[in-house]
Amino acid sequence: MNIEEFNTEFLRFKDAAYRYAVAILHDRSAAEDATQDLYEKLWRRRLFIRHARFKSLLLIAMRNICLDVVRQRSRERERLVAESHNLPDNEDSATQELSANDMAQIARRLIATLPEREAEVMHLRDCEGLEFSEIAAITHQSEAAVRMALSRARQRVKQQLLKRISDGQ
């Protein structure tokens, strides 16, 4: 892949890679850095990259970068997760009926509190619209494991959302 082709393909899928980074890192600034890092790392290997499955390659590379960041910043991440755990609870005090937009916002915060593996599977499915086989290839799991993780994630978010719906009404 030459420089022009590489840049074109990268610009096409960079947002998906960025969103994936946000889902793993829970930090937009770090995700932006990771996306820039991703570009540099892949640029060096552009001659060996082919067009086929470029998006999957991009997401796999982004996952590896993010997991490195997560390892380095595990303590900080624990604090962020703890904070995001607290956010929905603050809204429990609201007695008025929840709007659909509020529900989506709460769902977003709840997804951020999911275990890492479940959160990334849910992100790849619900945000990026990937097939189970693609998610399995990116996350190095079997399709059955992906389905299981997705089911668990959705059930967890569902239970919290139902609780808030019953509290809000």
């Binding site: 947002d15 996306t35 769902a107 139902l162």
Partner: protein, 142 residues
């Protein structure tokens, strides 16, 4: 789509058993249904899908810049090699040609080298060789 089918799809959604097409059907159905006609589980699915849609609209600006990818050691080695490739031929060309050696000293002049060579041939020609006039002389020599 009736409520029963919608409810079934929602159950499959929570079980992670819906295809991408099923999920698209759910999205379209939620757009048509009034919020008040949705039960709590359906509202939860709708919220999760809206969350996914809002997240998928996020964009990032990336500068397409990159480093050369070479470490400073590689850069230094490359620079040294480039200088050597340029300077070694220049040094070699700037040195006089050595045509030979006389008494251990290099001869760098072509004319001198030719003169020395001529001297050597002349000396060889004038060297005193044993005179052999007859068979007897030959035996006497031995």
């Amino acid at each position: 789509m009736d409520n029963r089918l919608l409810s079934e799809l929602c159950e499959r959604y929570f079980a992670g058993a819906t295809s991408l097409d099923d999920e698209q059907v759910l999205r379209q159905a939620f757009q048509r249904f009034d919020k008040n006609s949705l039960d709590a589980e359906m509202q939860a699915v709708k919220a999760m899908m809206e969350c996914g849609e809002s997240l998928s609209s996020e964009r990032v600006a990336v500068t397409l810049r990159h480093s050369s990818g070479l470490s400073w050691r590689v850069k230094l080695a490359t620079a040294v090699a480039a200088v050597a490739i340029i300077l070694i031929p220049i040094y070699k060309l700037s040195q006089p040609t050595v045509y030979g050696y006389y008494n251990g000293e290099p001869i760098t002049s072509l004319a001198e080298a030719e003169a020395r060579a001529q001297d050597i041939f002349n000396n060889l020609a004038q060297a005193e060789l044993p005179q052999v006039n007859s068979i007897e002389n030959l035996f006497e020599l031995n």
